[in-house]
Symmetry: C2
């Protein structure tokens, strides 16, 4: 069936299916790539066994669930790659915070979230997260149930009638790099890859999303940025749902092309105890950001998300001397 | 001059003077006592030199300032004892949060705040904090300037006239114990000391403030308490300002009588690496509480407080394995 108009309910349902499947596929690709990096270490810690991801599924009481993948390796000191697809109703407090949620508190959200803390202080830490959100969804359930229900463009309203409900949906996400000792080549290559990705979709995306990233990942209480930036986007609904999905997909593919390259570049370089100490202190800033400011962390903890999955982003070892 | 009525402006001004002086005196007593504990260590780490406090004064851009005292010792791995006396105007956001601040955003606050993280996993971590708050203060400046201005019960209004402004004031604070391996004797002695302190002022205080502490120091996202509790009180304005000051003073004195006793009890016991690891993990919960929930931390960071002083509460070394 050809879609009659972009942004209709069938479009959204198609994106829900595609996005959910893509987040899982990306997770598998990332885990395979990171395990491959574990295998080729010849620097410090090469006498340790290469790390492997451990996987753990969870279900959410209000609806849906997810899967955590955690690896404690010899290159990746601690890396969590989480996927989840959840649905339910926003709490009173969140209804006021999320644009559009006042009218109808129902939501559906699917995403992938990754944070990597590295053994070597010379390898940057990284964060990547993309997600699709649907507000006021007419039917909650598995993606399969949803798309069956929505395929014909008909949907049950809250009261059980047959009127079309108001639906808002968008994509969001991004990736940002946190080196302990920034160097121009890494920063430039990371940003060049992201710019290349953005430019394929809109000449405005990179400038806009780089700025958003710089503003978002900023520790106000220390008046310092979290790292060297990247891109951050949210509420992306261009009117072309398929394009928005492909942009989100491209962000994941770009991450997968550039970050392992930066790891390979530095993972075999020797480091000093002083550099390690500075890494542990810099990680404290990461903790401060995540617990004081990060919307994903706060959103997750407030919507009864899985605490273990949400706080998997916290570094394995930290110092506030 | 005899006070005509309790709770008048001269009463409040007298309390501001007394409280400010007391917080400084208590700081000196605590630092001396903690340094004395550093001197008498005969257990693990006795080959390290005994720690000594380092002091650092700071001024607040909006008015007032404080003094940090930080010791990195062989018994106290990291302990911060901060005093501050600040004044200014609440931000828009805080006006809605603080009862009574909507009408008049001016505030004055003085307090002492202490967090101790210990070398030994067998010695409990501890927090103690007491403070006096005045809202809608008719004159901001040094305590001396304030009391000169207020001594006669006359005060300038915001608009420069001579009407008496509405003033709210209260005391708040408390202390709570966070052992890594709780044991009944320590918990009972800590609570017995606090109960004894409370009972001298009101038969209701202990039950009420213990409950408040249990509710406040609770990690909702983990469904677990921060430690074994203590007391927590806020907005204390019994109508007898002098009594409220003496209660706050007694809380500090009680802390000083019981906590060093608990340190002495365990500081010389040997500990294992496994116990140390558990301590580092338990400290992660402390970080989570302080950054996600603690009102003092959030209040401080939002009112342009001194970040270094506020985050001195964070443990020196932490693990989220």
């Amino acid at each position: 069936m050809k879609k009659p108009l972009s942004g209709t309910i069938p479009d959204i349902a198609a994106n829900q299916k595609r996005a959910t499947a893509w987040f899982r596929e990306l997770r598998d690709q990332i885990c395979a790539e990171f395990e491959a990096l574990e295998d080729v270490l010849i620097g410090t810690q090469r006498d340790q066994p290469p790390g492997r991801f451990e996987r753990k599924a969870w279900t959410r009481e209000g609806g849906g669930g997810g899967e955590m993948s955690l690896m404690r390796g010899r290159v990746f000191e601690k890396v969590g790659v989480n996927i989840s697809t959840v649905h339910g109703e926003f709490s009173e407090a969140l209804r006021r915070e999320v644009p559009g949620a006042e009218k109808d508190p129902r939501f559906w959200a699917s995403g992938i979230s990754l944070v990597a803390h590295m053994q070597s202080p010379l390898v940057p830490a990284v964060h990547m997260n993309t997600r699709m959100i649907v507000l006021g969804s007419p039917h909650v359930g598995t993606p399969e149930e949803r798309s069956d229900d929505l395929a014909g463009g008909r949907a049950r309203s809250v009261s059980g009638g047959s009127v079309l409900p108001t639906i808002k949906h968008w994509f969001g996400g991004g990736t940002d790099l946190t080196p302990m000792f920034p160097n121009n080549a890494d920063t430039e290559d990371f940003h060049a890859a992201l710019k290349g990705c953005c430019d394929r979709f809109s000449p405005e995306y990179y400038t806009k999303y780089k700025k958003w990233c710089d503003e978002y990942f900023y520790l106000k209480h220390r008046d310092e940025p979290r790292g060297v930036g990247g891109i951050f986007y949210d509420y992306l609904d261009s009117g072309e749902p398929e394009k928005d999905f492909f942009f989100t997909r491209a962000v994941g593919e770009t991450f997968l092309s550039i970050y392992p390259e930066l790891v390979r570049r530095h993972m075999n370089e020797p480091w000093s105890n002083t550099e390690r100490e500075q890494q542990l202190i810099k990680r404290g800033r990461y903790v401060e950001f995540n617990l004081l400011y990060d919307r994903g962390t706060r959103f997750g903890l407030q919507t009864g998300g899985n605490t273990e999955a949400i706080l998997m982003s916290l570094p394995p070892e930290v110092k506030w001397p």
